[in-house]
């Protein structure tokens, strides 16, 4: 009888060959003007800036820098756009939103490739998360457009007017959808300013609006840096501000708007606790931890950046986590097998590097898997800090990068205390097999979203927003509509 060979064979050294998504589907123009009143126009400021790919630092396109006169023109166009758009029958507005949703779906590969090129996120995320969700937001709000009376019975909902919307660079097209879809559904017109480092999908969205034959002026898109955003918020012609971004800028916006009676919603930073109990499904909790902090390179305001682990399972959990990190594939965002893409900008890379150095200086223990970083572009390896005290900067400040701080707790009450001990309150995660504990925790966690046995899940029907310095107002769901309406009843 043949004996099986001894089990000493090391197994196949198997590597995945590059599997890049073709970038031929996107052709950027050399220069993008401003999208105002349904037209693409040259900026009166005469200024342009370059949008680069953070993965290669190659220039992708020149983009207009909107100055004060341009902002004024955009608000003016939105004002006349509002007159047309708000007078349309609600079912007509729904028709345009459905059209936009379908066009986003039809052009989703192009938009996903553009998103990954301009922002550095892995194509599998832009393809499987950003684009489907962006389309879903338009579909969802298209459905509400002619049913607002039913969402708010007897309150006679009316649009606010011109909505000034400023969005961040971490989910450029998705944040656009979160802002534009409810605003249009409620009958408002929009002046949107995408982030300086990721303007290109918003400019492609201008083309989507054109293709959908959206009435001129309903959507206006102006590009620029923080000064453009500040100019927009200062403008006397706006009726609403919606901002997603840093807490610092959020505070500046609130100061600017004080006393002006302009309603505003702010979705700001976070330092979410991901709380893992000893009775959890451990392998799946590991996936949740990885998804919580390494999804989109940790450029997620609701990222689970503080891992609170019940002390009794700390060692096995860390062993599994290290093992899992070694399988993460960092590199070309357009490669379909890439798990971790490029850091969005040099400035962000510098901030992450500085905070990680502070963690080491304060005495936390750093772990990074063996991981080769590409030579060009902005990269940071997935990082785990253990021995982190609640008082360290890496446990307090938002890093907005692939950096996890691990702390322990002994009892559910201690977990709640530590989780709530932050200036922020955007999200939290709870991992346990015990349903009653999930409810007990959710009651006590001061966070806008509490995920149970999952993390970073979004749905247009589910309101999203924060507590404390994470901002106020909700986006998504019926609550999200309320932020774009006034009530006469």
């Amino acid at each position: 009888m043949a004996e099986l060979e001894p089990r000493t064979d090391g197994g196949l050294e198997w590597t995945y060959a590059p599997a890049p998504e073709s970038r031929a589907i996107v052709s950027f123009e050399e220069r993008y003007g401003l999208y105002i009143g349904g037209e693409t126009i040259e900026p009166r400021s005469g200024e342009w800036f370059t949008s680069i790919s953070p993965a290669s630092e190659e220039p992708l396109a020149e983009v207009a820098h909107a100055g004060p006169e341009d902002v004024d023109a955009a608000v003016g166009a939105a004002r006349s756009g509002f007159a047309t758009w708000s007078e349309l029958r609600p079912a007509e507005r729904a028709k345009y939103l459905f059209r936009i949703a379908r066009i986003i779906q039809e052009r989703s590969r192009e938009l996903a490739v553009a998103e990954s090129l301009d922002g550095g996120k892995p194509i599998k995320e832009s393809r499987d998360v950003d684009l489907p969700l962006a389309a879903a937001h338009f579909f969802y709000h298209a459905g509400w457009a002619d049913k607002l009376e039913y969402a708010f019975p007897n309150r006679r909902p009316q649009p606010l007017g011109v909505a000034a919307q400023i969005i961040p660079w971490n989910f450029p097209l998705l944040m656009l959808a979160w802002k534009v879809a409810p605003a249009l559904a409620c009958g408002n017109s929009v002046v949107l300013k995408p982030a300086e480092t990721t303007p290109l999908t918003a400019l492609l969205f201008a083309d989507v609006c054109r293709q959908a034959e959206l009435p001129a002026g309903a959507v206006n898109i102006i590009t620029g840096d923080g000064s453009t955003g500040a100019e927009l918020v200062r403008h006397a012609g706006i009726d609403k501000v919606a901002f997603t971004g840093s807490t610092e800028v959020g505070k500046a916006i609130q100061r600017e708007l004080a006393g002006r009676g302009v309603p505003h919603t702010l979705e700001l930073g976070g330092k979410a606790a991901n709380i893992v109990f000893e009775d959890c499904a451990l392998d799946q909790a590991i996936e949740g931890i990885v998804n919580g902090i390494y999804f989109n390179q940790g450029h997620v305001c609701c990222a689970g950046s503080r891992l609170l682990v019940q002390e009794s399972i700390l060692e096995p959990l860390l062993g599994k986590l290290r093992n899992r990190l070694s399988t993460l594939r960092l590199g070309d965002p357009l490669d379909k097998n890439t798990d971790i893409g490029a850091i969005n900008s040099r400035a962000q890379l510098d901030r992450i590097t500085e905070l990680v150095a502070s963690g080491e200086a304060e005495g936390a223990e750093l772990y990074q898997p063996a991981c080769e970083l590409p030579e060009r572009g902005f990269w940071f390896p997935p990082t785990v800090f253990t021995n982190v005290a609640q008082s360290f900067r890496i446990a307090q400040e938002e890093i907005f990068g692939p950096v996890l701080s691990v702390m322990t707790f002994r009892t559910p009450a201690e977990a709640v205390d530590k989780a709530n001990n932050t200036a922020y309150g955007l999200s939290a995660g709870v991992w346990t097999e015990k349903g009653s504990r999930i409810l007990w925790m959710a009651d006590r966690l001061r966070a806008g979203v509490v995920w149970a046995n999952t993390f970073n899940r979004f749905d247009p029907a589910s309101p999203f927003g924060g507590y404390k310095e994470s901002g106020f107002g909700r986006e998504g769901g019926r609550h999200g509509l309320e932020a774009y309406l006034r009530f006469e009843g």
């Binding site: 009888m1 004996e3 099986l4 064979d9 090391g10 197994g11 050294e13 995945y16 392998d283 097999e433």
Partner: protein
């Protein structure tokens, strides 16, 4: 025989100390499996994978109508899957019923292809233990060097875990030097928690491999259930150093599916498990699809299925 060792933290998988076996979250498990199924395997990586898949196949026939002639044809195919392309390796084993183990042994002897025989009242396992032990022993005496046993799902589902454990230990002893694969029949266990519990139990009782299915029940192997079992294998390995192999069986018909299994394996247990000594596919029609894909990778064209033998 290697001493059966239980994982320290995941607990002793026999009653009554069964509380710390660990839980599985079905939603997240399936999401992870679906995520890994999206890996894009191209060019050289694909050819390497296809070659490995051939080497990992337990080429199977388990029909009432099986005859020596049928098994002879299967053995010929197992040893030389593609007569046109001699670079295509042999499969790992042929998998047959015990009465045909002798015929299979004569056909494959000296080729490196193993003879795996099912036993223990396959597929139901509903026979007295004495008969199951005798059947396993007979299979080995007839020439099987691998035995694929089924667990007693009746005992498992009624909570008699110790009985299942004891039966595996007895069959393990009866197998002597032959390798033991323990079929959990995951399609009958109902939850991933039960699959995990049965996996730990089988490994603790001395399984060399754990295997999803008989192929007689739907669903047979799935990607998530395989991931669940691989995670149990990983836990046992990390905690005790014991090496246990994995065999998904049933329903894997296409190269693309098989490559997805390899990705799950690769990213759960790493390269040490990318060997037929630690991973098998229980399959029959899969082989021809893999041969076709290998030909396509090498020549750039798809050839007619008629150019691949039907055995």
């Amino acid at each position: 025989m290697e001493q059966a060792t239980t994982p320290a933290r995941t607990a002793e998988p026999f009653e009554p100390r069964l509380t710390r076996i660990g839980a599985v979250d079905a939603v997240a498990l399936e999401a992870r499996a679906a995520d890994l199924a999206k890996r894009s395997i191209k060019r050289g990586s694909k050819l390497e994978a296809l070659d490995l898949i051939v080497r990992m196949i337990d080429l199977t026939t388990l029909e009432g109508a099986d005859t020596p002639g049928k098994v002879a044809a299967l053995c010929a195919k197992a040893m030389r899957p593609d007569p046109v392309d001699t670079s295509v390796p042999s499969v790992a084993a042929v998998c047959i019923y015990p009465t045909l183990a002798g015929e299979a042994r004569r056909r494959v002897d000296g080729s490196g292809v193993h003879v795996a025989s099912v036993a223990t009242a396959f597929p139901s396992g509903q026979s007295p233990i004495a008969i199951k032990v005798a059947e396993a022993r007979a299979a080995v005496e007839l020439g099987a060097d691998e035995v694929d046993m089924v667990i007693d799902r009746g005992a498992f589902l009624s909570g008699r875990h110790a009985e299942v454990f004891d039966q595996i230990v007895k069959v393990r002893e009866a197998c002597g030097p032959a390798h033991l694969k323990v079929i959990l029949e995951t399609g009958e266990l109902g939850t991933y928690d039960a699959v995990r519990r049965a996996s730990l139990l089988a490994m603790a009782a001395g399984a060399d491999f754990i295997k999803t299915s008989t192929g007689k029940i739907s669903p047979a192997a799935t990607l998530p259930v395989t991931l669940c079992m691989l995670e149990a294998i990983r836990d046992v390995h990390v905690e005790t150093g014991r090496v246990v192999g994995m065999k998904p069986a049933g329903g894997i018909r296409h190269s693309k599916q098989a490559i997805q299994y390899l990705c799950v394996l690769h990213e759960t247990l790493g390269r040490d498990w990318l060997t037929p000594q630690r991973f098998r596919f229980g399959a029959s029609s899969l082989l021809n699809d893999v041969l076709m894909q290998i030909r396509t990778q090498k020549t750039g064209v798809y050839e007619s299925p008629d150019r691949f033998t039907v055995d």
